[in-house]
Symmetry: C3
Subunit: 298 residues, 3 copies
């Protein structure tokens, strides 16, 4: 593995390895490693969780600020990243609004971890979601996961659905018909009232208002009533069922304010797991790439 652009860059064996490693105690890497974190979109969870993972592994991070860089002078993304490669940077972590931005970076000789490409993928988010379910249920085999909300604009919905099914889970969907991609079949569609009674995992998605071109479909309250996880619906969930959400949560819209820190919510557990899977991915990528090591520097 030289890249983690989408989950397709990983075999099922590798995914299992990364999840297993994520829960083991972590020690700093031997040698001097550097990662450049390049976030071209706003981020709290992903950005700082990569930073935390890097810090724990003893990886020196470069915090790239696009607006104060030569991108301002018209330099291309490729030339900017080639510059980091020339510095001897060991790894790039990139979030970019353009889907599949990595396709124009094929000339680089440095591993990239995709930290989100527009409405494309977000593989470490998928891994942390898997880890959270694995911790909870031991296995994904036979698990019923309902993905609910803004499926169309979500960069994890499709990736998660695919890998969940590969790992033996059953995936259903709930949410506005307008936000359902064409490949979803009628029998996979549930109303929210049906969903809460059957799901082991209610995987709520964020309404990606920043990707809707300013078009509002529902008022917050009417969305919440029709498609949200209300307090009433939560009461009908199976006793062992859990609530997940990639966050940031639009409180009172996707789910009731009071449910964010409810007993069955794993929302902040997901954040915690984000650090673990990113450690695991960083370590694996650096160890398997035959990365330059500056053995004389520790």
């Amino acid at each position: 593995m030289r890249q983690l652009r989408t989950l397709n860059d990983l075999s099922i064996t590798e995914i299992n390895y990364l999840l297993t490693q994520a829960e083991k105690p972590i020690a700093p890497l031997n040698g001097f490693y550097t990662a450049a974190n390049l976030f071209f979109e706003a981020s709290t969870r992903t950005k700082y969780s990569f930073e935390m993972a890097e810090a724990k592994l003893g990886i020196h991070k470069f915090d790239f600020a696009a607006q104060a860089s030569s991108l301002e002078k018209g330099e291309s993304l490729y030339d900017t990243l080639k510059t980091f490669e020339s510095f001897g940077t060991d790894l790039l972590v990139i979030r970019h609004p353009q889907a599949r931005y990595y396709q124009e970076l094929e000339g680089l000789n440095i591993p990239i971890i995709n930290a989100g490409d527009g409405a494309g993928d977000h593989p470490t988010q998928s891994l942390l979601d898997l880890l959270t379910m694995k911790q909870e249920f031991g296995t994904l085999l036979g698990l019923h996961v309902v993905i609910a909300g803004d499926i169309l604009h979500s960069r994890v919905a499709n990736t998660n659905a695919k890998i969940l099914e590969q790992l033996g889970a059953r995936v259903s969907y709930a949410g506005p018909a307008e936000w359902m991609p064409p490949h979803i079949s009628a029998k996979q569609l549930l109303t929210m009232d049906e969903a809460v009674k059957q799901a082991d995992v209610m995987m709520m998605l964020r309404i990606q208002t920043e990707r809707h071109d300013g078009k509002a479909f529902w008022s917050k309250q009417s969305y919440h009533n029709r498609f949200g996880l209300t307090e009433e619906r939560e009461q009908k969930m199976l006793p062992h069922a859990i609530i997940m959400h990639p966050a940031p949560v639009n409180r009172g819209v996707e789910l009731a304010d009071s449910l964010v820190e409810a007993e069955r919510s794993r929302i902040f557990k997901q954040v915690q797991n984000g650090v673990l899977v990113r450690q695991s991915v960083l370590k694996y990528l650096l160890e398997t790439k035959g990365a330059k090591r500056y053995e004389n520097i520790v």
Copy 2:
């Protein structure tokens, strides 16, 4: 102590302990600690002095950039900070324009150091002011401190006055009547010409133009003549008396340009002491909170 929101979170014993520790040689902490520095207002002294203190203690810092975070997507301050808590961050350092911003953060389970809350408090500034006077005079008992200038908008004037009196100093005030809070009695008020002849410490305050809603009361020159520490007034100060100012100084307004680095000025000594007291506070807060330690990481 789990928080340092105002000096009221500290007993007099703790204040003395922190000041004593501040002057002792410092070594990096054992274990892996992280602090998130969240500055929602412009800052040079406070921000980088916390960074320096953290660096010397070997604490890994997160430099939170609000404008590139999920706050942009409407996430609340509480959810943002809960996210840092979930990462396993050991401590938060926060400057925020809203007075008592910390009141809405009571659900967090992570210590906060208040690095300034609007026109509210700024406890580490007060501590560095105390350290500077203690270094100079050995004790605060019997010291005559004149606080001069924009008392009303200053976040340290009131805190400093209270603690100085508790520690046995006498506090007087000088400055425009419009900027005197109602609780100040007539006998505590001095003209600048009276003040300079009596004070052991002339504690000049910064004119907080950014909190005045654009209303200018005086021209710079007329303010300087009436309420500033002019070269003429400095000549009338007691031989041992010192000049303090939290900085940044409006040179030629609160005090004459030539006095900023005058022999009796302790303005850059205060900056130096800021690093020392922040080291002391960070160390104390981490050691007494039973903070998570990642013993396998050093």
Copy 3:
């Protein structure tokens, strides 16, 4: 040496020492050192290459963000830097749009490395250029270097020309007559077609559009045809000749897109060498200044 404002702060012996040291294996410094990086202009190469050099030497860096600092409250550059001096910072790295900004900083007692002052100097860029030529040819003696393009607005053209001649190279120039400084003699001027046939080094300069007050002289295509290194011209270069450019390159303007990563291009090698010479300069400056060391911290 306490400062590196221009190459004039270095003797020829020191320059040779710095270039020799640059190629030796590097180890982290003993002791706790801090550098404040203050970039008041956009930068990718220089900024992050200093960061990389600092990281490898184990120097803790402060990443100063002007727009979130007290400069916003009207504080002067001098007072801002005096503040960093008071923190105990060991070294300042400064890029500033104002030529000779360092002249107003003479009261400081802390070493400055100039990382670019407007259209003034950029000494570490000159050093990395020298290192690149020294690596290639062993010596600069007798080398024919053609500096081509926007000589007038370049902060390295004049510095490089002077030091190259001191080290025994012959310097010629090519480019628009409007961009030739008056001190260049007619016999030093070549057309691009003459230049490519004679040069050992084609040192292409960036068109500093950001310093041209919006005046465009040529279309990109016509500039490229008349003054650029086209694919046709590259074919006429001497077999051993190399192409240099400080970057970012305006691809298709100063040189053909396909030449940026051509075999004879040293453009990304220059980036790599930038890290090496900056390590060398940082180490030398810290070791020779009798810098404060906090021996108890490692």
